[in-house]
């Protein structure tokens, strides 16, 4: 789960990291009031779960409250990478002497968090890594023992940070690592961490990604989830415990298992790409395929009006093909399916499942044998319906 900038920075503040005293506004008038209250130049920042806000014009400096109101009018409602801006953060503007990058992320291969720092902050870490990888210094953090003080000193020294800032920097590093650990974060990033002209350190921008698996034990963070960023279908899927990601193709995919679900999407693109046809979604219905789960999954898939055909691919391991077939037929009746559906069953009792589907004789429902055949049939059907 991604946190907004203002949420990340308030979390940082809880761990003692100095952040600007900003507030969130949802209207231009609120922005005006906050800017007046600040009594200085402010930065109006789009709060949206997407990168590249600056380039999209979502971050603007305002010298007066009137200017802040104008900026807010322009930014609120703006689309940044498909996300609508619903709120802005009003931060007092800072005088910047130097921009530093400081972040903690999980190093999957090492099975340890890794601290990354660079004296060349302000741009994305991927960008620094591409242009000047030697400008990034790293320290792995022991997941059991935590951070050692000397590791922050090593970072400060390796990045040639002026000595007078080492103490403050060390405190921020330690706080960020604690914040990362205690939030079950996958990423906690300050970019930039600035040295101001009056020689203090300040976290101007913040980004946190929380491990979804940890949300049950992080109720405070789970409550920060911004459901306005989810579509109706995504909310329905979340509530039903179905994994769903909407894409922009025409073939609605319903599959059991994440790996097979991705593979099924890939197959529709493999055979459909030349005709402009591809997957409309990722959807994993999980183990089993009970009629009610299948019905919910179908509703989710069909809520996307781009869907011209549904491709259902179930590998029966523990679940039996005949049970799955009955479940699908019941669900199709319940949902009143109006687009063709290709059903491919494999595994336990797959033969029986296929004959149940064929014998039901429902129009628009076809059984396929192999995955290749199923994907080709779906592409054909989508082509005819375009």
């Amino acid at each position: 789960m991604n946190l907004h900038e203002y949420q990340s920075k308030s979390r940082f503040a809880e761990f003692g990291i100095p952040v600007p005293t900003g507030h969130v506004a949802r209207t231009p008038d609120e922005t005006y009031a906050l800017a007046r209250q600040a009594g200085c130049a402010v930065v109006v920042k789009a709060q949206v779960l997407a990168g590249g806000r600056g380039k999209a014009g979502g971050i603007r400096l305002a010298n007066t409250p009137e200017e802040a109101r104008e900026h807010a009018s322009a930014i609120l409602g703006m689309q940044i990478k498909g996300h609508r801006v619903r709120s802005v953060l009003i931060d007092p503007a800072a005088s910047i002497a130097q921009e530093i990058y400081l972040g903690v992320a999980n190093d999957r291969a090492e099975a340890r968090p890794v601290l990354m720092a660079s004296a060349e902050g302000g741009v994305e870490i991927e960008e620094i890594n591409r242009l000047r990888p030697e400008a990034i210094v790293r320290e792995h953090v022991d997941p059991v023992a935590g951070l050692f003080t000397f590791q922050a000193v090593r970072l400060a020294s390796a990045m040639d940070l002026p000595r007078k800032h080492w103490r403050a920097f060390g405190q921020i590093v330690a706080a960020l690592v604690r914040c990362f650990e205690e939030s079950d974060a996958e990423l906690a990033e300050i970019n930039p961490l600035v040295i101001t002209e009056d020689d203090s350190l300040l976290a101007l921008d913040g980004k946190m990604v929380i491990d979804d698996n940890a949300l049950p034990r992080q109720p405070q963070l789970a409550a920060m989830h911004d459901s306005s960023e989810l579509s109706g279908a995504e909310t329905m899927a979340r509530e039903a415990g179905i994994s769903y990601v909407r894409l922009d193709g025409q073939i609605g995919c319903m599959v059991n298992g994440a790996g097979l679900a991705m593979t099924t999407m890939d197959m529709t693109l493999l055979y459909g790409e030349a005709h402009g046809i591809g997957p409309a979604n990722f959807l994993d219905i999980g183990g089993g395929a009970r009629a009610d789960t299948v019905a919910t999954a179908l509703r989710i898939i069909l809520s996307d009006e781009n869907v011209k055909v549904v491709l259902c691919n179930i590998f029966g391991g523990i679940t039996r093909g005949d049970e799955v077939a009955h479940g699908i037929l019941t669900a199709c009746e319940e949902v009143q399916l109006k687009v063709p559906m290709i059903i491919r069953l494999q595994g336990t009792n797959a033969e029986e499942g296929r004959s149940i589907i064929n014998e039901a004789g429902l129009s628009g429902i076809y059984a396929a044998g192999t995955l290749t055949e199923a994907a080709r049939m779906a592409v054909d059907a989508a082509g005819k319906n375009l």
Binding site: R108, A111, P143, A258, G317, L371
Partner: protein, 285 residues
Amino acid sequence: MSILVDDHSSVIVQGITGREGGFHTRKMIEYGTAVAGGVTPGKGGEWFEGKPVFDTVESAVKVTGADVSLVAVPAAFAPDAICEAAFAGIRLVVCLTEFIPVREMMKVMQHVNQTGCRLVGPNCPGLLSPGLAKIGIMPGFIATPGNVGVVSRSGTLTYEVVYALSQAGMGQTTCIGIGGDPVIGTSFVDVLRLFEEDPQTEKVAILGEIGGRAEIDAAEFIREQMTKPVAAFIAGASAPEGTRMGHAGAIIEGSEGTAASKIDALRNAGARVAENPEQIPDLLR
């Protein structure tokens, strides 16, 4: 021959009296796996399907001599269960559990690495050495004994390929799902090394997906150390960047973890890469 488990493996199930644990214990016994007993704290002294239940892994090992444990307990208890097994001298722990926080798994790996224990998983379907033993949830009927080793990050995709191999008359030595989480106990490279060393395994199928760099490391190992032919499939070519695709570990971050980069690396390492998992048997002929 097989890797990691065979008909001499003596298995205990942690969570044997639970719904999942109990269900799969029955399936494993049906398959012929030597299930020696199980562990459920507070239920020591009871019996399940004629197998003794113990309060601790230590007592289960002492009495039964088990060398393998299957962890089938909820995410909140699984990290503890894995460590308990490792500290009790279990040789191989297979953890099915999904939704364990990454931070917990990182701590678990620190502890497990201090022992001689190997962990497979978490969030994995387990292992199946056809005709010898099944440890986990892979459906037994899809596999037949033979000389292909199968390793995968996924569940049903593995079944799909194992089934296709069996249908094509190509049996398997061992089928192993290493798990879909970002931090797992056994990597592709670990399994490839075991298959390379196993005299009966003649060919290997590797099924990867987007996210992380495990397949890139696997490609390097294939290029430098594998003598046996390898066929591969990478799932997620159609997945968008920055979005998690079901598995906690299946996410493309920046340019890292794309299907294209993994396919290139495997191809350059000499592996035969399938566009479609149903091509795998043909690529191994």
